[in-house]
Structures are given as structure tokens and as C-alpha cells.
Amino acid sequence: MKLNDRVQDDIVILEPKGKIMGGPDASLLHDKLHDYIEQDMKKVIIDLSKVDWMNSTGLGILISGLTTIRNNNGELKLANLTKKVQSLLTITKLVSVFEAYDSIDEAIKSFK
């Protein structure tokens, strides 16, 4: 997994790329989130458009990210779910827990 990040209107947009499979991926996302939390930037969107595959450990990473942000009184939203991620979230019934949007813009709007 590669992780790009940018900030748009006070909102952090993380863009993981490739497969989210655990191992080093976990600390990568975790550290990035903590960096932003320390800068008091707690509105985060994870753009999943470039994530073509995710296993149970990968989902664990997203869950952990959400927990981290929430524990710091922030918000984390997902955008552009691919089919695989969508189906994983559906089966695990975590769609309702994660707020998921069809595009970045919609996700940004939801913060306002």
C-alpha cells in the first residue's frame, strides 16, 4: 500500500493505493493519522478509489483508524468505495458505522 495525503479546506484527504493487507500498512496509516491529530486536524476523508483489494486485516486498519479519530473527537469518512471494499463493508455491516460517500466532494460537503 502507498499512502498519499493532502489537505483541502482544513480537511485531510488520505489516498491509499494498491492493496490494504496489514503488516506495515497498519502503522503507515496509524502514524499518518496521528501526525494530523497532533496538528489538530481531525477531519479526515479516506479516498479508497485506488484500493483494488482489501482483506480482513486491511479492514481492521480502517476500523482502527476510525477508532483513533473518534477517540480524539474527530471524524473520519470514506469516499469512492471500490466494489471489493463496498462488498466487504456490506458483509461486515460496517457501512453504517463508516460514513461512506460516492465522491470526495460529497464527503467534503458532509463536513459543512
Partner: protein
Amino acid sequence: MNLELLKTLVYFLPGGFLIFLAITITRDNFVSRLNRITGAMLFFAGIGPIAMVLGYMIEQSSTEGVPFNQTTLYNLYLIWEFFFPTLLVFAWLFPVDRLRTFKHPRLRYLVFIPQIMHLVIILFFSDINDLLNFLSSAENAEGLVGIITKPFAQLFSYLLVVLGFIRTYEVTIFGGINLFYVLTAIYFIETGKRFVTDPRLQTQTRVVIWAIRFGLGLLMISYLGAAVFSYEFPRGVNTALLLSALLIGGGIFTFAIIRHQFLDVQLFFRQSFIYTLISALLVGTYIILGVQSKKLMTPLFGDKADIVSYIFIIFLLLIFQPISSWIDNFIRSMFMHSRTDYRHIIERFSRQVISMFDPRQLRQTIEETLKTAILVEKVYFVLYQDNIDEYALIPSDDNTRQKVIDREDLMLRGINMLNVPTYFDSLSDYRNDSQLAEVLNEFKVKVILPMKDAEHLLGFLALTTKVAGYRYSAEDFNLLGVLSNQMVTALTNARLYVESMEKLRLEEELNMARQIQLDLLPSGPPVMNSVAISALSTPSRTVGGDFYDFIPNKANRRMGIVIADASGKGMPAALMIAQIHAMIHSEVNNGNSIATMLENMNNQVAVSTSSEKYVTLFYGELDETDNLFHFANAGHNYPILVRSGGEVELLDIGGPVIGAFPNMKYESSTVRLNSDDVLFLFTDGLSEAMNENGEEYTEDRIRRFLCDCRGHDPQLIMDMILEDVQKFDPHVPPQDDTTIIALKMTPNGLLLNERQA
């Protein structure tokens, strides 16, 4: 004549042997004072019999004129008396080097004075006598000259008397002095023994002392005693006593010295013996050639034979040195490489350590080898410790605590740059503020032996002085260099062994965990009247994160069926599964509703594990009285219900995965199972089985497959689908934990179940 020759040989051999031994010992390590003095002592001891041989030969050959034993040349044999002062000096050096404590060590040469005097008096007696006579004759001078010279003249006349006295009783006087020397030497060695603490050296000292007692005892009886107390043995007895004194005394003695200072005593003796023989052979050949050359030349060269034979002899003399050195090299290369003894040690050492994996035992062997081979008094180990990722001083007898050495310690960095054994003193550049240097200094460390594996310093040995304070020779350093390479190999082996043992232990534990996990799974499907059930779970590693079970709910007489999949794989997943197993059993026994059960479990797991660890779980209860199946799905892959007509229903109602977020709500649902309906529960290991193109098997494909084979009994359905997945993704074991429960409503479920059992 043959008997005479034998006699000569009997005298010559021990003398020659001792002399060559002397040369070999001196040559082996000339810089060592002990070597030099031992060499000198053996040389002078060897002079005795050699002088006897020469004297005897000359006596035999000269038939006229003055008897040989009255000539000046004959008296030269007295040189052998220098054996006694050298013995005394030796006693100062062995077993404890006392000369180092002398203020003026050079004064030791004074002990040679009596023997020199003896030699001078005997050799030049008549000359000195004449001179003194002449000088003392000035006693009668008159006038001024007389006044000045008179006291001197008187002195000289006294000296003349003394000289006469000495000449008359020389045998007794110098015999007495020599006897005194021997006793003093024995005294020094006996008292020096007390200072020897090293057990090996103690043994050697004892051997030396016995050699001296024995050899010198015989010598005293046959020679010194006879000289002092004027008795005489028959010549044969005397010779036998002298020879055995020389041979046995010198032999044992040399043995002890060699063992003490050198390494391979057998090699040493062999070497000396072969040298003696070869040299005797060479000298003999030369003598024969010299004597015979003139005879041989005469017919060829006539008058000129003399000159030619001289030229020939000169030629022979010229090539003597090359020939002898060639023989020397030849013997060395054939029988005794100069490092054979070291090779012996190295060979033994590598043989010992090759199968030694216990670091402590290995250190002991290294220490013992160094103590035996190089006579190091103490060895300290500083080794890199994997568990603390630091270098540390290993505890030893007088240093009971492991001492961690600062990574930035200047001395450690200095040692890190070494590649060969080095004197600690030469590392003074690295002493500033170095704790390590202080410790090493305190231990009186002399030599640092680094142990390097390629570029990495495994550690080093700190060696103190050698026993009795002898210095490290160049050979010692060579040996240390080679041994350090062997140690590196041995230490690395030991480390790898420990690692592999650790791995083995972990595997063992993992296997035990696997057994525990297998025991958590039901031994077989439950026996029911209207349902046939088959189940299988295959972990992708030794232990897995999948779980299934059949739990009879005693409260409502339903059969509980659970399938679960913990996120991740291996041991962490297995531990979560063990927790789930315990929880669900207690929840079922508590008689809670299915939704409440899942809520309780979710909250418990959520608080006890971090949020990225979760479990997907499906729990259902089948009531055989009405064929209703009550269930709730906590984020698990939807179980597939294939109706007998081929319609497919997915059991998705429930809630989120267990353990990700606390306070989740779950709902349950109910479905009626009719005859010949197939319920198929699985984990994602099955649906996500991946072929080499990166495509997944997918749930759709499972559904289609189930529709096609729904007519078969559950065991066959399971086998067929596993076979199909296996064709799709031939990994064995599967890439992910895979679990299947296949269940079919059938009037003769009992029968089918029995058949499976």
C-alpha cells in the same frame, strides 16, 4: 675395535643429544631468557660426554709422547663445569622469574667466576706460576723499589701459595663449589615452587625438581661426591652413573621445560634426535671423505694429489652449510613443520568446538585451550549479547557480574578497528575516559584478541600475562590469530544453534497450540433426526483464525451452530478464537436471546482487544420440532440457503462484526428449513480463494455450484466444492483459513450421519 666404537657411540649420543636439544630450544625462541639459559645449560652438560669421547679417541690414536690426559687440550673438558653456574641461573628463572626483581640482573654472570678461574688455573697453571714466581721474586729487591714493591711481592708470594694450594686440591675445591651451586639451585627451585599457583605449572615444577634430584643426585655420587670426599668408583660404574645422570636427568628436565614453555614434546625430542643422527652422519661422512680423499686422489693425480685433496676438502667445507640447511629444511618439511604443534592445538580445538553449542561450555573450552597452549593466566570475554543488543563483559570467577559496555566507549571502538591480536598497551590512544580501558587495566590485561565475522565484531578476548610472567612470542600471536578465526566460527555456530533451538521450541509450542485448537473443534457433527451435517476446517498455518462448533442449547432444546472467522491469521487470530469459543459457550448456557448473545460478545471483545482485531461470526439455532432456524449474522459471509427447488436465500440479518466497536445492536431472524434444503456456511478462505491471475473464487460461484449439486448429501456437496476450489487455487494448505459447514434437511438425516461416523 667394534667394542671401542660402541663405547665411543655410547658417550657421543647422549652428549650430542643434549647439545642438539640445547640448540633447538635456543633456536625455537631465542629472545626468551629461559630458552637461552636452558639451551646454555644443556649445551654445557653435553660438552662433558663429548669431551670424553674426543679425549678417548685421541688417547686411542696417540701412542707416543706425553699421555693425553696431561695435555692442555685435555683440560679443556673443564668447560663443562659451566653447567653448574648455568644451572644456578636457570634456578633463578624457573619456575619463577626472580631475575626481574634483581636490581642488577647482570650481576648474575658473577656466578661464572669460580669456573672461569678453575679453567684458567688448570690451563695456564705453569704460566701463572712462573709469573707469580717472577713477581714475588721482587721481595728481595732493595732500596726505594724494594719499599714499593715489597708489599706487592709479598702479596704475590701469598698468591703463589694459594695457587699451589688450589692446584693441589683443585678437584676438592671446585667440586665443592659445584656441589654448593647444585644445592643452591635445588633450594631456589624448591622455594620457587611455592610461588607457582597454576596447577599445570606446579606439576611441571615437580617434574623438574624430580629430574634435578635424580640427575644431580647421581652426578653428585659419581662425580662431585667423589671429587670432594676423594673416593672413586670403578670406571665402568662411574661412566654408567654419569651417563644415566645426564640422560635421565637432562631428559626429564628438558621434557618439563618443553612442556612448560613449548607445545609438542614428542615432536621436540624427535626433532633433536633426528638432528643428532643426521649431523653425526654428515660429520662422519665428511671425516671419511677427508681421510679417504688423499688415497683416492693419488692414483688419479699423482704428485698433485695433496693439493687436489685439500681443494676437495675445502670444497666439502664450503658446501657443508648448504647441505646441512637443506637437510634441516627437508626434515622440517617432512616430519615437523615448524607449526605442527600449533596445528595440533588448532586441530584439537576445532574438533572440540565443532559440536559444542552451549555458549558457556564453548567459553570454557576456549579458555582451557588458551591456558594450555599459550599458558595464559586468565581470559576475560567481552561478547556481543543478542538479547540486550550490547557488548558485555561475561562474568568469570573473579568477576561475577555481567557488565554492559557502552556502545560509544572509545576503547571498544578502538578494538573494533583491530583485525589481529594486539598488545593492550599499544591501544593507549583509546584510553581517554574509557570505562572499558579502566576495567581491562584493573584485570592487568596484556593482549586483546578481537573476534571478527567479516566486518562485524562478535566480541573480543582479553588475555592477562602468561603464567610466571613470560612474554608472548610471535608464535603465540600467530596461534591466537588462527584460534580467533576458529572461535568466530564456533561462536556463530553456537548462536545459530540457540536460534534454531528457539525456533524449534516455538514450533513445539505452536504445535501444542494447534492441538488445543483442534480440541476446541467438535469431534464430529451432532447426530440429529432430520438433519445431516458435514463440517471441515483447514487452517492455512499451524493454527488458524477460523472456528465452528455445534452447541446444544439445553434451555430451548435447539442445536446451536456457530461459524466464526477472526481477522488476520496465525497465533493472534487463534487467541481471539479461543476467547470467542469460551464466550459463546457461556452465552448459550446463560440462555440469552441470540441478539443479546452477540451484543454481549461484541462488547466484551471490543473492550478486551484493540479495535482492528475483530471476529465475523454467524450463530444459528435449529429447532428440530418445527424446523425453524433462528440466527443472527455478525458481519460474517452470508450463509447460503439453497431451497430444494433451487432458489437461493442469504442469511444476512444481524449486525456488524464482533469486537470492532462497542455498543453495537444486533437483530436476529428466523427461517424455516424444509426437506432437502441445503444450508451452506463458510468463511472467506473459500470465497476469496485466489487463482494465479489474482481472481477470486467469489460467493456467486459458490452459490451457482451449490444450486447444481444441491441434490447430493452434505458430505458429497462439501467434497465437490472443495475439489472445485482446489482446482481453482491449488495451494496446499489454502492461502487463508477455510471452514465449511454443509447442512441438509433430510428425513433420513440420522442414517446419513451414522454413515459418516
